[in-house]
Amino acid sequence: MAENNKVINRRNFLRDGLWGGCLAALGVVAGASARKNRKNDLVWQIDPYKCIACDRCATFCVLEDSAVKCVQLYAICGYCDFCPGYFELGATVLETGAENELCPTGAIKRTFVEEPYYEYDIDEALCIGCAKCVKGCAAFGNGSLFLQVRHDRCLNCNECSIAVACPTGAFKRVPADEPYLLKKVDHA
């Protein structure tokens, strides 16, 4: 196993020198990355202000069932009766029939709170991250529905396939201790 030739000749001298050089180089790399390295891991997240609600999150994730889901930030939701994220634009009756709903999987639950307010909840098991509701809510509502990477599902790939496909660079790495980029709540 051990290298027995402890003869000092030119070849061994050069080899030892090179060996030490390589070790030193690795040390430099370690030092350079330690200078600004991060204790925490980095995770992927969507900047909701850059997201244009295309449907790539639904299809490009390496998971069968995308790690990106719609999030309802209740604090800025208008609790509208006619929710533009829930109903098809042409919906004539505000009823929870599938033909009226925008969501292809019926993942949004509409519950009556009090006149005239309704609460909308996302059923994550059904949501596929297609962002149809996000588009509707952003266009005609308050924009309380937006996409986020759900970290209980995300595998945190070193190169996120959705980030590669994202047309606006809305995907970015964020520190794992603050893994969500929720929209700001502006009102009191």
Partner: protein
């Protein structure tokens, strides 16, 4: 009275804040007056805890130490195989193969060139530990720790030997792959090693069909050609090869002395056993000497030509960067060469950023690719030149030895050596002649 007070309070607050409010709020969130409905907040399940990352790093350290011990001290193929299976299960299927040491290379490069990106400490550990171990013990990481190596090692059923010229030629792919991966990581364009990791879909048990097919094909080839990814493609393997040349300890086929019995000659499925070699015949030696002189003169030419070609490809390579792609699309739209708009260009226009600024950014990035292309191409020229020089240099060998760079330390050759059987006391030492 309560509702009225709420309304007044709400009005007052909104008056105060009206100057500060930004964004669209078409419908003010309600104050629920009839019911005591509490506005919920969205759930935010956290990511995998850091502690698991540290466990991974410790497991890596232990696995590397164990692999080195098993390969060099125990010389036990079965134990190495067991560790290989464990690594495949742990680093491959349990950890889903990410971050791996091969991919971590790009994070390190990216962090050197991007001031805003800080590498997580676990990624640094995954990058450095195998390199340090290789400097001491040879490629024991490849032997039994790397999950990509493990999956290929396990499917190797009927190894065929690859001709030397094919082996040497195909290996250049790995150098090109490394150079491209570094270029793309340094410019912040893409992590190509991760994007085209052939076995990741198998580890995750889901993923894109193309990658699954790629992985399947490599495994199919890997049944006959030992570890095709490791030998011909792995960019990290390129670094490991070079460090392994210098390693303090390394795999030797025989535990003590080579008796020239030739039994191990064909035992290596990766073509990493070097036969004893006496001096070149005078005729050949003369030709080789002339060739070597010519190649040494050719080396700077190859480096320059490579660099020139590499920088000339900036138009193609820079397309890997999204800003360049966007700028090209916007240019087409602005000059009326295309009617179609893309999501990216629509998104860009919505931001209100100046087109001129975008063009400037893109041309900066292109300049980086031009400079990077010189280095990339020069590096590839250098590798080709050194490879040719290496083929013209004759190294005298008296015994059967493992190729320091190519040996994957799998330990398959041990059992072919009769001296090994003596060591294990399965065979009596015969005095005198063999």
């Amino acid at each position: 009275m309560r509702p009225l007070r709420n309304i007044l309070l709400g009005l007052a607050v909104s008056l105060i804040l009206s100057g500060a409010t930004t964004g669209v709020e078409r419908f003010p969130p309600p104050d629920f007056t009839e019911t005591d409905h509490v506005i919920p907040s969205p759930t935010s399940p956290g990511p995998r805890q850091d502690v698991y990352e540290y466990i991974d790093a410790v497991v890596l350290l232990v696995a590397l130490g164990l692999a080195s011990y098993l390969v060099l001290k125990k010389r036990n193929r079965r134990a190495i195989l067991t560790l290989t299976v464990f690594s495949l299960l742990y680093f491959g299927f349990w950890r889903k193969g990410c971050v791996c040491s091969i991919g971590a290379l790009q994070n390190i490069v990216f962090s050197i060139f991007d001031p805003d990106y800080a590498v997580p400490i676990v990624v640094v550990v995954f990058f450095l530990l195998p390199l340090i171990f290789t400097l001491f013990f040879g490629r024991t990481f490849c032997a039994a720790v790397c999950p990509l190596g493990a999956i290929q090692d396990l499917v190797l059923a009927r190894p065929v030997s690859v001709p030397v010229w094919a082996e040497n030629g195909l290996r250049l792919l790995a150098y090109v792959y490394l150079a491209l991966a570094v270029l793309f990581a340094a410019t912040g364009s893409a992590f190509v090693i991760c994007r085209y990791d052939p076995f990741i879909s198998i580890f995750r048990l889901s993923g894109s069909l193309n990658i699954l097919i790629l992985g399947g094909c490599l495994l199919l080839i890997g049944m006959f050609v030992g570890r095709p990814y490791c030998r011909f493609l792995c960019p990290y393997g390129v670094i490991l090869r070079q460090l392994s040349r210098l390693s303090k300890w390394r795999v030797t086929i025989t535990p003590d002395e080579c008796i020239q019995c030739r039994l191990c000659e064909d035992s290596c499925p990766f073509g990493a056993i070097r036969k004893p070699a006496v001096q070149w015949p005078a005729q050949e030696y003369y030709v080789a000497k002339k060739r070597l002189a010519l190649l040494l003169l050719l080396l700077p030419v190859l480096v320059f030509f490579g660099g020139w070609a590499g920088s000339g490809l900036k138009g193609v390579t820079s397309k890997a960067h999204e800003t360049v792609r966007l700028a090209e699309q916007i240019y087409l739209e602005e000059t009326g060469q295309t009617e179609e708009v893309t999501d990216a260009s629509t998104g860009f226009r919505a931001t209100g950023q100046q087109i001129k600024e975008l063009y400037e950014q893109a041309s900066n990035i292109r300049a980086k690719f031009e400079f990077g292309g010189w280095i990339l191409g020069g590096f590839i020229g250098l590798v080709i030149g050194l490879k040719l020089i290496g083929l013209s240099v004759w190294r005298q060998r008296t015994d059967y030895e493992t190729d320091r760079a190519g040996c994957l330390a799998c330990g398959r050759c041990y059992k072919y050596c009769p001296r090994e059987h003596v060591r294990l006391k399965k065979m009596k030492e015969v005095a005198g002649k063999w």
